[in-house]
Subunit: 205 residues, 2 copies
DNA sequence: GTCTATATTTGGATAGAC
DNA sequence: GTCTATCCAAATATAGAC
């Protein structure tokens, strides 16, 4: 009997080609918009005829899904490993990471965090991975004593709002990035100074 | 010479047909997504052949633009006429109006506040109108003593963030709508208690 | 695995008769 | 203003030869 080769060169090459296709796809959506991904242009870019793409991906949505998975993984992998000890400073680092990650590639942000591609939904597996990202954020906030679900929701609203405004109204600029620190100070003070929330009373100021 | 008729029945009918087409277009985008607007389906819905639409709109983007103008006008017209005297309560009403308006019709929100339709940009005239809306908001905030541009930016980030999360992660629900009041209290306290901002010093807490 | 050829659908838009 | 007829382009996807 022949021994099995250590490496599967065929599989390696296949993976490399898949990666090459995905790279070209990212390039295309960054250039022309997420919704404008076209299998024709994509095939031409990588030097294939359009039908050949189907040897690597079952459909166009399968490409979107692979891109989604890549994006989620990048979000997790690139997260800062260590955070400042002081909670408010850690929040600033976290928020800057989120806004920076999203504004660095608006098409990716659109794919991951907005649901604007008609007919595309991430696969269950990819979606599961994405939930890990939010869970990690929740865990970090909990470490700072921020445990209420409402506070987590407020945090996500803040960082996505800053991101959204930055992308929509000052693309490539820093207008909303520049108030991230301010927003986090506001958030931190509010969530850790909740005497009025517990009493449910109206704030008399 | 014949006297000119008081009413131009032809023009009236034309306007009515245009309105009917736009109504059908809204229906379609609410159903299938903003990007999925199709002139064929649209024509079929209003009982026309597709080319007949071109008697009323020069192009598909002209339809988007008319919808944009309608949306902006609706946002302005539906604004609450009077606000509570207390600033923080007024902020809550304003924010609830914004989030309510947007979540009531996510396709409209996408058209007005996100720029996700490839190739579409609102006409200069429509865009001008939309800036009036923001100017009004700025004026109201100024009336409450909130005049710094950064504060206005923070406000818009907050309300769009709440809107975005509500639409993306709890469509039809109230998860983020339920923290609008809380967010506005946070915002108000932060923007009116700025001793630390002026000194530019790091907050010692 | 890649190609050619093709199917199929759909899209926006125009020409010209009535 | 509306229609028929048509164009043109682009899209995703499949069949089958090599």
């Amino acid at each position: 009997m022949l021994g099995e080769p250590i490496r599967d060169r065929r599989a390696e090459r296949r993976e490399a080609t898949r990666a090459e296709i995905l790279d070209a796809a990212w390039e295309q959506v960054r250039e022309s918009g997420l919704a404008a991904l076209s299998l024709r242009d994509l095939a031409r870019t990588v030097g294939m005829q359009p039908p050949s793409l189907y040897s690597y991906f079952d459909s166009k949505n399968a490409i979107y899904d692979a891109m989604y998975a890549q994006g989620v993984q990048a979000f997790i992998d690139d997260q800062p490993a260590a955070l400042p000890e002081r909670a408010v400073e850690a929040l600033k680092v976290m928020a800057h990471y989120f806004v920076g990650f999203c504004t660095a590639d608006p098409a990716r942000y659109q794919l991951l965090f907005q649901r604007t591609i008609p007919g595309f939904e991430p696969s269950a597996e990819s979606y599961e991975t994405s939930k890990q990202g939010l869970a990690r954020t929740a865990g970090l906030l909990a470490g700072f004593g921020i445990t209420e679900p409402r506070s987590l929701d407020l945090y996500t609203a803040l960082v996505t709002g800053l991101t959204d405004q930055q992308i929509s109204n000052d693309p490539g600029g820093r207008r909303w990035i520049g108030i991230v620190d301010d927003a986090m100070e506001m958030f931190y003070e509010h969530t850790t100074d909740k005497t009025s929330t517990r009493t449910k009373g109206r704030r008399t100021k």
